[in-house]
């Protein structure tokens, strides 16, 4: 097999080599650890690196594969976990000093599934405190830096997961998404991030932010790699009260099918009304490419769609205030000013307003279902603005507010309200070399079509060879 760059190889490239014995999981893990040692001071992607544990897992994987017990495409693959996901015997901080002694006594379901698949858990990735923020800054542990320009944010809240994958420190990562926290970081770092359908992946053992909006999902360099991770992670889990019993497909089954016959919708309203011109041009060029490759493209009117973010925000703040009520009551002074202000101000939401927000959500989902009844996917930009700098998004000392990044969640939050599958992937670059994200949104439990469209776009666009200017 041809030589590959271990720092940027995909699971599709690595897995056959690991399976055949050409590449040892120990070699891959050591390469990740070496790169982490070299680049982590600039990227700040991790809160904890499991150097010894990862090498032990890698040696075990190597022995299993040598003895003929190859487990599948994730065997021997390095994965970073957002530090709100439990790993037995390690601390889950949630990005907060309030939880600095929060030792996990068991693995989260997703951790267990990854370990059973033979993955190497390389470390715990940085995040915004309590996963409650879009800009990717954390006064307690510092911001993660964007590998494409280290002065710019990775967005939040899964900022370390994105920096680790985009910077070549880990093959894959897990993030969580309540208002866009997988897809915004994926967009601004040029990787693929999939928020699956609500209930598709277990949240058991994952810190809560908003029970009815929280999703766990994969972040990888390629769309196909997201599909490989979905094949390991998806499925019913009785430990998660919202876990779905929908049948689980092979998420790789249509990756090679292409665009021919795919029905693609483009919203007339909202998503292109107030978006950066370079981002709009790149996404529209992407849609044109889909059409040239055989997709049928039609505009869809959805004049109600802007309310999706409003509903998401209403649910998120009320549920987050309930999740963290005891912290607000007893340890508020330990929170960062921004998170403290968001939680304290959310405490006033009346019960009837929260209930009516869930009623509005039901109406919104029905409207979205109707709008997408004749579509396979809906294409939108991932974020409306170009990637702000860390300085623009950092509140002055003691302050809760920063000037930059306020509009970031406008588009992503819509699909946390509906719970539909939503993939952000790279569709181009700005003039100053920053990645541009495009969202491919599918119907509930149809991740297969989302991944099909994403993989087809990836092949047609040919953007994967471009790497961050590092190091």
């Amino acid at each position: 097999m041809p030589e590959i760059d271990l720092s940027y190889a995909s699971i599709d490239e690595l897995a056959p080599r690991i399976r055949s014995g050409e590449l040892s999981p120990v070699e891959l893990t050591q390469a990740s650890l070496d790169r982490i040692e070299r680049l982590e001071p600039q990227l700040n992607a991790f809160l904890e690196v499991f150097t010894e544990g990862a090498l032990a897992q890698a040696r075990e994987a190597e022995a299993e594969i040598r003895s003929g017990s190859y487990k599948g495409p994730l065997h021997g693959i390095t994965i970073a976990l957002k530090d709100l996901i439990d790993v037995e015997g390690t601390v889950t901080t949630g990005g907060s000093t309030v939880l600095k002694d929060n030792m996990a006594t068991s693995d989260a379901t997703v951790t267990r599934l990854l370990k059973e698949a033979g993955s190497i858990i390389i470390g715990k990735a940085a995040l915004v405190e309590f996963a409650m923020g879009a800009t990717g800054v954390n006064p307690h542990y510092g911001p993660s830096h964007n590998p494409w320009n280290i002065d710019r944010i990775c967005c939040g809240s899964s900022m370390g997961s994105a920096a680790a994958v985009a910077g070549g420190l880990s093959v894959g990562a897990l993030g969580s998404d309540t208002g866009g926290s997988i897809r915004m970081p994926a967009a601004v770092t040029g990787i693929a991030g999939l928020k699956p359908t609500y209930g598709r992946i277990s949240r058991a053992g994952v810190l809560d932010l908003s029970w009815s909006c929280d999703h766990v999902g994969p972040m990888t360099r390629t769309v196909a790699d997201c599909a490989h991770m979905m094949n390991v992670l998806a499925g019913y889990d009785p430990a998660d009260p919202a876990s779905s019993q929908q049948p689980v497909p092979d998420f790789t089954s249509e990756l090679e099918r292409g665009f021919k016959g795919l029905r693609v919708g483009v919203p007339k309203e909202f998503f292109f009304d107030d978006v950066d011109p370079e981002i709009e041009a790149a996404v529209r060029a992407g849609i044109d490419l889909m059409e040239r490759e055989g997709a049928s493209v039609e505009e869809v009117s959805m004049p109600w769609v802007a309310l999706g973010r409003t509903i998401n925000s209403g649910l998120l703040v009320a549920e987050a205030a309930a999740v963290h009520r005891s912290v607000i009551q007893t340890r508020a002074a330990e929170l960062s000013p921004a998170i403290r202000a968001r939680l304290e101000s959310a405490i006033i939401v009346p019960a009837v307003d929260y209930i009516d927000t869930q009623r509005a959500r039901r109406k919104f989902i029905e409207q979205m279902d109707d709008a997408m009844s004749d579509l396979d996917v809906l294409i939108t930009p991932s974020v409306p603005i170009q990637t702000p700098t860390i300085a623009e998004c950092t509140p002055p000392p003691g302050s809760a507010d920063a000037p930059g990044g306020g509009a970031l969640t406008q588009f992503t939050g819509v699909f946390d309200t509906t719970g539909q599958p939503s993939l952000s992937m790279n569709c181009g670059f700005t003039k100053d070399g920053m990645p541009i994200g495009m969202m491919i949104n599918g119907r509930a439990f149809d991740e297969v079509s989302v991944l099909r469209a994403g993989a087809a776009f990836e092949r047609a666009a040919g953007l994967l060879e471009r790497r961050p200017p590092i190091w």
């Binding site: 609500y198 009260p241 309310l307 304290e344 006033i348 509005a360």
Partner: protein, 68 residues
């Protein structure tokens, strides 16, 4: 005299927070008034949505084991 933001006073908001079990000093409530207004504005936008025909979205509904 209390300072008014939107339709609510600092004392109103202090009482709202206390009902939720969070005791905020008057100075802290004053600092947060703009954020309370943002939360209220979001809720006002939601109240304007006609939801009479809709029950709340139920994400934790009872499950049927479809594999049975």
């Amino acid at each position: 005299m209390p300072t008014f933001h939107g339709n609510s006073s600092i004392n109103d908001r202090q009482r709202d927070a206390a009902r939720a079990g969070v005791d905020l000093r008057e100075e802290r409530v004053a600092e947060l008034m703009g954020r309370f207004d943002d939360v209220e504005a979001n809720m006002a936008a939601i109240r304007a949505i006609g939801v009479d025909a809709f029950e709340p979205h139920a994400v934790f509904a009872p499950k049927t084991n479809i594999q049975d």
